[in-house]
């Protein structure tokens, strides 16, 4: 799997993403600075990593979404390339129009930093094939603006088209306001683009790949991606 991890000023999880990609696919990703206008040849997957690009100035992800490299990322996505957008990357993808909706301040006004159970809503995507549908996994949350919002039509379309990939839940897999860490509509934690090739999610799968840090539930996401690009190649 040829992966390109985009690095913006203020990104801080790019090495974590790189480590997860290496572990799942055996191959180091290329790190691409935001001023570049091209992706490396034959890139299978673009990762927009977590962090605080541009210090979250204006709106989270707003300025990064307009940086030169994003034109190349948009072309890659339009051609059916895979994009994994994590946390601040998810905010950037929404601001760039790769995914619908927006992530606003957590409803309780608190930065959330903890482990969180999530339900994998679909296992038939390139991002989740190594999970079972409905499986409850634990990933790490670390965000202040993860409250997913979109207009009613967009939410209805996402739900109707099965584009909610991950939902916040309790340890038994039940969603509800008690299990929703940030006030997201319908406990949405991750969504897919219309062609199913772009995934944006607030939790950090790249940080749960080693038992030393509390779990390995995130690794399967990267293994899914590695398997999907092996089939394609």
């Amino acid at each position: 799997m040829r992966a390109a991890v985009i690095v913006f000023p203020g990104s801080n999880r790019e090495r974590d993403a790189g480590r997860a990609l290496k572990r799942a696919s055996g191959r180091e990703p290329t790190y691409v600075w935001h001023t570049q206008t091209e992706l490396p040849d034959a890139t299978d997957l673009v990762v927009l990593p977590g962090g605080f690009s541009y210090g979250d100035y204006l709106r989270c992800g707003a300025i990064a979404a307009r940086s030169p490299v994003m034109e190349a990322v948009r072309r890659h996505a339009t051609q059916g390339g895979l994009v994994l957008a994590i946390c601040n990357g998810f905010q950037i993808a929404c601001e760039a129009g790769l995914l619908p909706g927006v992530l606003v301040r957590n409803a309780a006004m608190r930065f959330v930093c903890r482990f969180q159970p999530l339900r994998v809503e679909r296992a038939d995507t390139p991002f989740t094939s190594a999970y079972a549908g409905g499986q409850v996994i634990t990933l790490a949350l670390a965000h202040g603006e993860g409250n997913y919002r979109a207009d009613d039509d967009t939410i209805a379309r996402l739900e109707g088209e099965g584009r909610v990939a991950l939902r916040y839940c309790d340890a038994d897999g039940r969603s509800g306001s008690a299990a929703d860490p940030n006030g997201s509509t319908n406990a949405i934690a991750g969504i897919l683009s219309q062609n199913g090739r772009v995934l944006g999610l607030m939790p950090h799968p790249e940080n749960l790949i080693d038992p030393l840090v509390g779990g390995t539930d995130g690794l399967a996401l990267f293994e899914s991606l590695a398997a999907s690009t092996r089939v394609a190649a």
Binding site: R59, A62, P100, V102, V104, R105, A107, A108, N147, R149
Partner: protein, 80 residues
């Protein structure tokens, strides 16, 4: 030419920051404040032949960057 751009949340969009400010005003004993919505103000110097051209430039600025029209609206005041 000087201009101001006001970006505010659309009606119905949750504004936790505004709510927190509202609560703080209440706890300070500032009476009569019924609700608070927080927004952003941009003061801009813009080069343009006339007010209409300046507004067109700033409209593009809002649409492309300054406002996220999923949740926000904007108002442009040229010559403010």
């Amino acid at each position: 030419m000087k201009a101001r751009i006001l970006v505010t949340l659309k009606t119905g969009v949750l504004d936790p920051q505004g709510k927190a400010i509202e609560g703080a005003l209440r706890s300070l004993g500032v009476d009569g404040v019924e609700s608070v919505r927080q927004g952003k103000l941009f003061e801009v110097d813009v080069q343009a032949p006339d007010a209409g051209a300046a507004e067109a430039t700033l409209r593009a600025a809002c649409e492309r960057l300054l406002a996220n029209t999923v949740i926000e609206t904007y108002r442009i005041e040229v010559g403010a």
